[in-house]
Assembly symmetry: C2
Homo-oligomer: 349 residues x 2
């Protein structure tokens, strides 16, 4: 169905040079000895004829792709349920647009995993990779990094060779729990998202929750932990379940805002008040958090910044700069609103 396309052969003929010269000029192959005059003539003819080099030929000639792979090991129903990944993508695309790269989104199951990343990089499909949730394939990624492939991980890593930028969510969890302790709470429930397996981030936050309580002399009570699964519906159900405890919590830490918002609905439906009966704190500061009822106290996680940093790092690696030896760590910030009860203590202005 396609019309005959203009080829490099046509351009070569009209410009009076060889097809190889056309390829060298239009693909900016470094190190060629073609005169500026010839280059200009070739470019002019290509423009006049409307010639666009085929990406296959272009990638072969220049040796690298214009794509950056964003590789996620996560079921896709999760990827876009919560604004976390979209926010990261938004930050990445700010940087890639400026640098002339496109984002190739690769959402892989654990069964494909490493081979998929390996294929993308070795096959020249992408110039570099930003990887999320790669815990289980860290050894393989370390191998690829050692072979010189540009890879940036957004997760805490035990490998010293992988370039890494991540948000210190343990620091964030500690802020939340300490804030609730400071407000006088001792029965502080927690709604993490599951499963713990294969997700050190969650295990790490949950462990920090336990530690922060114990440092304040409050024994950890596993009956106060109920797993959700990102979605507000799951926070709602986790809270309903917590409310059946005879010795009910007086405060709840939801590990994302969506679940915390669901939890507040469960509290209201029982005729209880937030924060008077139960204080609620979320995590992320999604755009509707300030407009929840009551306005949600939460941790503002620098997700776009995480995206921007990771993209800058991978572009750096692609351009041949040395990888970062130390991980870049970003921190979340406590945003106090009404759902935690702290504002009740403040005098009115």
């Amino acid at each position: 169905m396609k019309k005959a396309q203009v080829t490099a052969q046509h351009v070569a003929q009209q410009a009076g040079v060889s097809p190889t010269t056309v390829s060298f000029v239009l693909n900016d192959v470094p190190g060629s000895t073609i005169s500026e005059e010839t280059k200009e003539r070739v470019r002019q003819v290509a423009r006049d004829l409307g010639y666009i080099p085929h990406v296959g030929a272009r990638a072969l000639a220049r040796g690298r792709s214009n794509n950056i792979g964003l590789v996620l090991i996560q079921p896709h129903y999760q990827v876009f349920t919560d604004p976390y990944i979209p926010n990261i993508i938004s930050g990445i695309s700010e940087v890639t647009q400026l640098n002339g790269f496109r984002i190739l989104v690769e959402n892989i199951n654990s069964s494909q995993r490493l081979s998929s990343i390996e294929d993308m990089l070795k096959g020249g499909e992408v110039a570099g990779v930003i990887a999320i949730n790669m815990y289980e394939v860290e050894t393989g990624i370390t191998q690829l990094v050692k072979q010189g492939y540009p890879i940036v991980s957004l997760d805490v890593s035990t490998s010293s060779v992988i370039s890494t930028v991540f948000i210190d969510h343990a620091h964030g969890a500690r802020q939340v729990v300490q804030h609730l302790i400071n407000l006088g709470h001792r029965r502080i429930a927690c709604i993490p998202y599951g499963p713990l397996k294969g997700n050190p981030h969650v295990a790490w936050r949950l462990e920090t929750y336990r530690q922060t309580l114990e440092e304040a002399g409050i024994p950890f009570d596993e009956r106060l932990v109920r797993f959700g699964d990102f979605d507000p519906e799951t926070g709602y159900r986790a809270m309903q379940s917590l409310l059946t405890e005879t010795d009910r919590p007086t405060a709840v830490f939801g590990m994302n805002d969506m679940m915390a918002i669901g939890a507040m609905t469960a509290i209201h439906e029982l005729g209880l008040e937030v924060p008077d009966d139960i204080a609620v704190v979320g995590y992320d500061d999604i755009r509707t958090a300030r407009f929840a009822y009551p306005a949600l106290t939460t941790m503002r996680a620098p997700e776009r910044e995480l995206g921007r940093r990771s993209a800058n790092m991978v572009v750096d690696l692609i351009q041949g700069n040395s990888p970062n030896q130390t991980p870049v760590v970003l921190y979340s910030q406590l945003v106090i609103r009404n759902s935690c009860g702290a504002t009740r203590a403040l005098p009115d202005d």
Copy 2:
């Protein structure tokens, strides 16, 4: 920094065939006359040596890319503010994963526009394109479609050659306004997202709002229209502004849920009640809509379905099937919760 890689030459040598045969076998080039036995031997040697064909060579040999371009003309702060685009991507990726395609996200400014899509397709970067918000370049897209390139548009189109699937948001707007009229409202405000320019979807919904009112004998009052800009904050401000009218609205239609949720906060902050003083209806049914306070009445827009349909259509086109002659139209569904006041009228079970 990269180690020497295994090339097709190595595989050819070890398998005792020509490099061209290696390329034909590993790239599944249709129509070759190579025996099954030879094919198996080449594949075995390639596996043993860990050979991965370069994507450039692969695309040249097979003639098409494994990527589907998702092209958005929209400032990227908007793209991921609202879950609309992430939901569409989620639906697309369900289908592309099954069919062995990856999604290449291309977020373009109006200045690059068409040439960017043209380059991707003609350069073989993508096998097909799903386009969003392409109103201003429709003529150019029509040309590309006539040249045989697989393109699916997610917008209402005046062109009969472009394969199209879209949600009939005029139908949705009519449902909302009619529902509020049926509940007895006559001063019904509207918070569209702007700007109107270059976005027929918004103009179309706003016109439907006007028509539906006038058909019910309610004159259109432009003082009841206040533009927002996707974000809840903008719905909050639009509502604050509406509340300064001496003849205040008794109902508000927010053109996305995020703005409707912001609007409810503005109403509460003035000491007014939703829905008793002002009824609110949103649009989209985002995941937190049911957990807003009060639970938000809204239109459930089939965004994932839109993504799935568009992906199936573009895969069909890539596989050489004839394009759809008639657009596929999807409809949103009214989800009645508490913010509109309709449930007050219902007897308790």
